[in-house]
């Protein structure tokens, strides 16, 4: 049974308008709506988490952890139309907690980093896109702003909300991240 995150770009655009309705149905307690909500947002969530941690299997675990937190917090979400930034805020917190623990235990971090590299070599899904290929080389702050803005298509204000910084900081981080990515891809032999 495959339990690895897939990086499906397809459906996000056309279905975002249904988010608020789906969230309200979930808050009402319609169990089928949860499956629809997860089906709609699992791929973008996974792509973000995988972009941050590298390993597909670890991303799968963290995505599940984030979904559990989402389900537990959903009854308290007062603005259903703000679901996307709220979801990524929870995902970010989950990833941050994991990274904090990983940095506390250096041996585990090294092990996971090795796994991540091995996963990347094996799956080859993310390496099909140049931008995603370069993400792993960037520091976490620059990596996540690129994922949120360019891969998840979140507007600047939502990125700022997820990251908990002013929009101006997001802009400067984006600028720095693009420059770093361009340099990295140039070193790898890609044309910037």
């Amino acid at each position: 049974m495959p339990t690895v995150c897939v990086t499906d770009d397809a459906e996000q655009g056309g279905v975002v308008g249904n988010d608020a309705l789906l969230v309200v149905r979930c808050q009402l307690g319609e169990r089928e709506a949860f499956r629809e909500l997860v089906a709609m947002w699992h791929a973008p969530l996974c792509r973000y988490v995988r972009g941050m941690v590298g390993s597909a299997h670890l991303a799968d675990d963290l995505a599940q952890e984030a979904w559990v937190a989402v389900v537990r917090g959903l009854p308290r979400l007062r603005q259903p139309e703000r679901f996307a930034p709220w979801l990524f805020t929870i995902a970010r917190r989950t990833v941050t907690d994991h990274l904090r623990q990983a940095y506390k235990a250096p041996e585990t971090a090294i092990e996971e980093a090795t796994t991540a590299v091995a996963d990347d070599e094996l799956s080859g899904v993310l390496t099909t896109m140049q931008i995603e290929a370069g993400l792993a080389a960037l520091p976490p702050l620059e990596r996540e702003v690129l994922i949120l803005f360019h891969l998840e298509d979140l507007p600047l204000a939502s990125c700022a909300e997820v990251l908990g910084v002013p929009a101006g900081t997001v802009k400067s981080r984006l600028h720095r991240a693009r420059r770093m990515l361009r340099n990295h891809l140039a070193e790898k032999g890609y044309e910037a």
Binding site: V24, L28, R35, R72
Partner: protein
């Protein structure tokens, strides 16, 4: 289900679907509601029994009563914690739970008042009736708030359905 929806469902790992099905389970929520109510109402009944006892109870019986009350309250607190943080109630679950809670509270209050009337003094009866009234009022307030929230969400859902093509 459309082809697009099928594709989306395939992208969700089965393990995640199972975990989320457990997370949103209504049965698990109602179980905790029942546990909390049984603990709280049981503790209240034992307290009434103890308070309306005509003669002073032996120390061991008093300790047993106190232990049982503490256990009941602990179960009620545990259920409250679960239903607040681990398995929060969705709007419809809240209404259902509030109805069950109101029924249990009324039954407990009436039983307590009956016990106090048969066994206790006028002061015991007054105190039990007042306590029962307070808890019943709290349960009614919870039901009103739950129904208000449900109504609000239903209106929002209908408005969003009209706006969504």
């Amino acid at each position: 289900m459309s082809e697009q929806n099928r594709a989306a469902h395939r992208a969700v790992p089965e393990r995640l679907e199972r975990a989320l099905a457990m997370e949103v389970s209504l049965r698990s929520r109602l179980r905790h509601v029942a546990v909390g109510l049984a603990g709280g109402c049981g503790a209240a009944m034992i307290a009434v029994l103890w308070a309306t006892e005509p003669n002073a109870l032996p120390a061991r019986t008093q300790a047993a009563f106190a232990g049982l009350i503490a256990i009941g309250l602990a179960w009620a607190a545990f259920a409250g914690w679960v239903l607040t943080l681990r398995r929060p109630l969705f709007a419809r679950d809240r209404v259902l739970s509030a109805r069950i809670a109101l029924t249990a509270t009324v039954v407990t209050a009436l039983s307590g008042v009956a016990l106090a009337a048969v066994r206790g003094s006028t002061a015991d009866l007054t105190a039990t009736a007042a306590g029962g009234a307070v808890f019943t009022a709290a349960a009614m307030r919870a039901l009103v708030r739950a129904r208000h929230r449900l109504h609000e969400l239903l209106q929002l859902r209908d408005a969003l359905r009209q706006d969504t093509p």
